[in-house]
Each structure stands twice: as structure tokens, then as C-alpha cells.
Symmetry: D3
Subunit: 132 residues, 6 copies
């Protein structure tokens, strides 16, 4: 299930419940996914992690779709099974189509390939690319 | 410099030069960065890698800016120095502002954090997230 | 199961059995976990890996709990399912409480986040931090 | 230097300066390291990241030395040059001796080796290790 | 199953079928494994990826066994479950024995260990090893 | 230089010197590279790591060239600068030509690409590939 098990809404303390309620309100859903229920054994981590996710994923210079797709790109690159499943769902909810998913995966694959070619051949950074 | 050194434009074979010309034409630049000059010792790899990059990064369901930013997100997550430097430059050329860069890095950092929390707590994938 | 299957105690050669016996004696258990049973097809790897683990995890300047928690931290960061499961058990046996587990995971998550921010922003090492 | 350069204390806005002051007060130092000066271009990220680090690294079920060493273990495993340099310094300040450093690195190395052996041999998780 | 499901041979478009036929002909098999059936939703990715794999894995300065074992070494190091399973099968078909598999895994484990020791101790590259 | 500095041959204890002598004899060289000089602060780690490397890299079912190239493949995939530099040199000494290096890097790049496509599309392992 999860190392410490899941804390269900019905069994949650007021502190945990307040976070659960904010997650559902913010995401416009009526359920809590396992990630948060596993974290809830440590209410301070639950609160802190949710606050960071909420703040980082809010619309800003980047729109929510771009953010969700970048999140998915990193999760696919890191090969985190849970995160790929949950953020594929989140990105779709934000508007990602099947074609966009396929193109994103092609970019993720290519970046992983060229990252190793650049490192493996010990390629020096061009002067033009160095931060000033 | 690089394991096999760099092949400069002036010293390149017709096969390599054709790829160099296509890179400069496609990207609208007048120079070739070290990555390609290091790969050029293996003309088949140079041609194949460039053809893949050219095809994958072309506008499609995702626009070039979204693609460049996803490429940068993966490179930052993989901590590839060369790739971060070159794709920061490429993403900026495609329109990435400083604010967009900062928000992208925040997403990359958060995804890396939550990926480990999900894996570290051994969180099971929710039925709702499983591909059907 | 495992690529080459498992070698059970009852079916083991004297060379493998000697390692199995030492594992059970050292760890004060009466069973052998799958990792060793999968490695046992290559007795030299089994012996060498066990000798290294035994030597490295013995009490020294760091106590066994600190060592087991660092092992778990790395395994969580690497997202190795088998290793997270087995070293969560080992760390608990060495005294890790649920609170310690939660705090450790928070550190692992934070380190993974800040590692990417440092690399992604191309932050130069401060003179004060460089080894002399 | 860093993608967006560094924001020095003398040039910082009141919002950034408040974070800088809290960092120096909490860590009992009189200077700000490059990581924070690079992040300061995005004051929201600076504040959020510092708040998280401050909360996570505070004494709790784990003491500061155990936390700093786990942070260093993850950074060494991820091969983040900046983070290894800065957290080696931080762990030493928290009490890590040369012997403790050497033993920690041995654990990090061993965990990375056994993680790949477990995954590479496709070892199934023992029933005894599965979370209930 | 897979994010977008699988496209079976019987249901494939002429473009996809041509790739499937070439895969079976090149590999001398009569079935298509899931990787390609999952990619086939994006025929351009299917074609490009297969062309690259076909070209890269063909006999050259390295023989097919050496290439398959290096592919497996990377997949084990990256801990990609699907890739370890499929490339263990491919390497065996190319001639990898159980002893060769065990020795390969020992090298993969050792490289992962020493990579972290070199990075963790911040070891500087010897002049003799630098590319000229 | 390195976190704890280097221990030169002239300054080494008999225990360390015995390992240094064995490294030079086994490798048929007359110098010690930085990796070992950095590890030597912890003689037990130095001895254990060298013994493992010596045993693993000795000729067996795989010849030294195949082993050195797999070591390099993993180091390139992990993007370890020190290890890429030192194992490129070691693989060349064992017989790796420029063409073999280029083909190896192409395999490493491709494996990293396809690993992410397999994980990112959540591809299920085929029954035919599962270990029995």
C-alpha cells in the first residue's frame, strides 16, 4: 500500500482535514489521491508540500498546462511510476491531448539521449552559452 | 575540449558540412556549437541525431517554446551542465523570459522532490490513475 | 521472480551456504532475503558483495542506525523499489521510528529539489566551499 | 556565474533582505552563499525554498548532524557538484568528522551498487518487506 | 497497460504496419513487443525510433552482443524495469550466457559505486585523463 | 582538489602503499590516479574498493575490453565527469578505437532515450520477457 499506510478523510485530524479540503477545493475534485494520504502521517510535511505545490503550480508567467507538462516531463525522465500516472492525469485535465503527450515524450527521450552524448563526449560549454 | 576534439566547418567533409549547413539554416544562426562539432567524428551519428532533433523540435501540437522549455526541464533534472547552458540559450531565443525560467525551475525542483516522496513512501498508484 | 531465479538454502552449494549462514548470524535472522538468493548464481559476487556490505554497515564512526538511514535515503533518492522496501525494514530494526522515517523522507525530497535548483540555475561553487 | 547572476545583499530588495537576514541569523553566519543569491531573482522561490529548508533541517526526531549527513548522502548520490561542496561544509559545521565522512561515502557507494544489482537482476520484493 | 494502450498488428495503419514488418524481419521474430505497440499511436515517433535503433544496433565496430550488453548495462543502471526485461532477452538471443550476465551486473554495480565515490569526494580529473 | 586532499605515494603508510603497489603492478603503470589518492584517507575503503575493482575487472566470461566499455557506458549514462575521463582512458588502453567509442556512445544515448519512452508511456512488460 504505502510504508505507513493511508490516512483516509474520515479518520483525519482537523489539521490534516484542512489540507485535504484545500486540495479538493483548489483542484475541483471530490477525492484525495494516495500521495497525500501517505504523507498525512507527517502533518507538517503534508501541509508544507501542499503549500509548495499549490503555489508553484498556480498560473503565473507559465500557464497551468505548461507547468503540468513540465512536471510530467521530469517525472518521465526520473521514471517515477506513481508520478507519471498521476501527472499524466493532471496534465490531461489541464488540456493535454494525445498528440501533445506523444510530442512531449519525444522531447523527453531526445533530451535524455543528447544529455548523455554531451556528457559522454566530454563536450566543453561554448563561450556563447556561458552565463555572464 | 571533448574526447575526440572538434571538427570545424573549414575542416569538415562534404557529408558533415551538409549537416552543419542545415543546422545553421534551420536555426537561423551563423555558427555551430560544440555538441555537433564533437559528434561530427561519427558522421552517421551526427546526421541521425540532427535529423531526430530537427523533427522532434519542429512546431507541432506543441509550440517551439513549450518544447525548448521541456528540454531544459529534463536537462536541469538530469544535471547536464552542457545541456542546461545550451538549452537555456535556446529557450530564451524561443521566447522564455526570466520569470518563465524561474517558474520552470520551481516546477523541476518540486517534481524532483515529490518523485522521491512518492517512491520513498512506496505509494501505490490510485485506480483512477491507471491506464486502461 | 528474478532473472536467474533464486537459490534456496536447501539447494545451495557449500560456498553459498557459508555466506548464507554468515548473513543470518550477523543479522540475527533465520531467513535469507531474495536479493542474496538472486545473487547466489554468481558465488563470487555473492561473497564479495556480502563482505563489503558487512564491513561497511558495521558500527564505526557512524552507528548502525545512521548507516541504515543513509542507505535508505540513497535508495529512496534512486527510486529502487526493492531497496526501499528492504532497507525500510532494516532501518526500523535498527531503531528508526515513524517520525524519523518521515523526517528522513523530507530531507531526501528537499535535497533532490535543491540539487536541481543549484544545477538548473548553473550556480558556481563559493570559494568558501571549495576543498583546499 | 549563474544563469541570472547573483543578487548581493547591498542590492537586495527589502523582501529579499529579510530572507537573507533570517538565513544568517538561523545559521549563525555573516555571509550568504551563491545558491540563495541565484534564487533571489525570484523572491517567491527564495522565500518558499528557505522556509522549507529551515523547517526540514531544524532539530526534530533526527538531530541536525543526521539530517545534514543524509542531505550530503543524497547530493553525492545525485552527483550535484555545488550541493556536495556546500553540504560537506554544512555537515562538518554540524559535527561530521573525516571518519564519518568516509564511512558515509562508503554507504552511499554501496547503496548505489546494490540498488543496481537488485534492479538489474529483477529481484522481486520479499513478502516480509512489503508494507501492510 | 500503457498510457495510450497498444496498437495491434491487425488494427494497424499501413504506415505502422510497414514498421512492424521491418521490425519482425530485422529481428527474425513473429511478434511485436509492447514498446512498439505503445509508441505506434505516434507513427512519426515509431518510425524515427525504430530507424535509430535499427541503425545503432546493427553490426559495426562493435558486434551485436557487445551492443546489446551495453544497452542492458545502461538500462540496469537506470533501473528501467521494462528495458531490463526486454534487453535481457535481446542480449541472451545475441549470445549472452548466465556467466556473462553476472559479470556484466558486477561491472554495472561497481561503476555505480565508484561514480559516487569520485563525485562525493570531489575528485579532480588527472591531467593525464583530460581530452586534448 | 578533493574533499580530504590526496595522499601521495611518498607520504603513504605501509598499508596504503601496499595497495598503491598492487594497483601499479596490476595495471602495468607507474603512477596512481587521483581517485585512489582521494580514497586513501580511509585505508579500509581503499583496500576494499581496489580488491572489488581488481576482481570484477579481471578477464572472465567477458574480456577486459567488454568490461571497460560497459564501465564507460554506465559512467557516461550517469554523467560522472571524473569517471568518463578515467574510463575513456582505460577502455582505450584495453583496445577501444575511436569508432568503437562512437558506437558505444550511440548505444548509451539510445538506451537513455528508449528507457524514458518505455517508462513515460507506462509500458507493461510482455509475458515473453518476464523471468520465470
Amino acid at each position: 500500500m504505502a510504508t505507513l499506510g493511508f490516512i483516509e478523510y474520515a479518520d483525519s485530524s482537523p489539521e490534516v482535514r484542512a489540507v485535504y479540503d484545500d486540495i479538493m477545493r483548489t483542484r475541483n475534485t471530490d477525492w484525495i489521491n494516495n500521495f497525500w494520504k501517505a504523507l498525512a502521517h507527517d502533518p507538517a510535511s503534508l501541509r508544507r508540500t501542499w503549500q509548495s505545490v499549490k503555489e508553484i503550480m498556480a498560473p503565473g508567467a507559465l500557464d497551468p498546462l505548461a507547468k503540468e507538462m513540465s512536471y510530467l516531463a521530469v517525472s518521465a525522465s526520473n521514471q517515477c511510476g506513481y508520478c507519471i500516472a498521476s501527472h499524466t492525469a493532471a496534465a490531461r485535465k489541464a488540456g493535454m491531448t494525445d498528440s501533445m503527450l506523444s510530442e512531449l515524450m519525444a522531447v523527453v527521450g531526445m533530451a535524455n539521449e543528447s544529455n548523455r552524448l554531451a556528457s559522454g563526449y566530454q563536450v566543453e560549454i561554448d563561450e556563447q552559452f556561458k552565463p555572464r
